[in-house]
């Protein structure tokens, strides 16, 4: 499936957000996901199915003031 991942057109095998996190190797990281401008609670990753051309933002914490 083709999605917009962090601004880039990306092909993924994942069908839901749990799969996506695993596919990207982010299971152990403290991250958050926005799907089509809405923050997705971690508890619903499994139930959140990816759809063609979804806009996914995947963020983490980095150094900053």
């Amino acid at each position: 499936m083709q999605i917009q991942l962090n601004g880039d057109t990306t092909q993924v095998a994942a069908i839901n957000l749990t799969d996506l996190v695993t596919e990207l190797g982010l299971d152990q990281r403290m991250i958050a996901i926005e799907r089509n401008m809405e923050v997705v609670p971690k508890s619903t990753y499994n139930a959140t199915m990816l759809e063609e051309n979804d806009r996914i933002e995947l963020v983490h914490m980095i150094g900053g003031g």
């Binding site: 990306t10 958050a32 923050v39 995947l58 980095i62």
Partner: protein, 258 residues
Amino acid sequence: MSDIFKVGTYEFTSRLIVGSGKYKDFQTTKDATEASEAEMITVAVRRVNITDMGKESLLDYIDPKKYTILPNTAGCFNADDAVRTLRLAREAGGWDLVKLEVLGDTETLYPNVVETIKAADTLVAEGFQVMVYTNDDPIVARRLEELGCVAVMPLGNPIGSGRGLANPFNIRVIKQRANVPIVVDAGIGTASDAAKSLELGADAVLINTAIAEANDACMMAHAMRDAVRAGRLAYLAGRMPKRAFASASSPTEGYIWD
């Protein structure tokens, strides 16, 4: 002496808040943060680099169980982006205490007060405890307090400029009229700037560049820790009045020639 720094529902013993940006590596970030004895540290929210994630992340070095993580909205130039950013941060780590900053332009990094107020309004309504970066305008500071922000953080000078307090009088005026903590955020260049901020009555200071860009970040973190303590004690002790003329320190009687 118990001197607790209360922000919203949080309590701290340190009045030094540090940033985690601009360090040469994670180890230095960790070492300097420990040296500062700060309990609260700001972090930025950014896209994960999917193609090059790196083995380690900041939070491998800065333990969220040990520090209160203060997600910021650095780089946001409008209210919508700031709100989106902090919603994501809250989902990532469960953090509700946040640093809101909405900037006006890239050259000055001065706050865009109109957008800041808009964002603060939304975030407070959504249950965030908002520590808000703003300019040193007492009217705006009061407005942000009235909106429900848990701390107001006027700049001393532009972010990363290291020029100290441009307008110490305004910091004092803002503090005198405030019912929430006042934190000097941005502009601190060296230890005396931090001490001065606390002496003026600021409840805390937020420092990033002055520590991260020092030749010896850990030593500067120590200096800031001590300066903040000294400034706070001097404020609580109550300074002597300034006089136009001298006032002898030794008794002016009992001279041997009298």
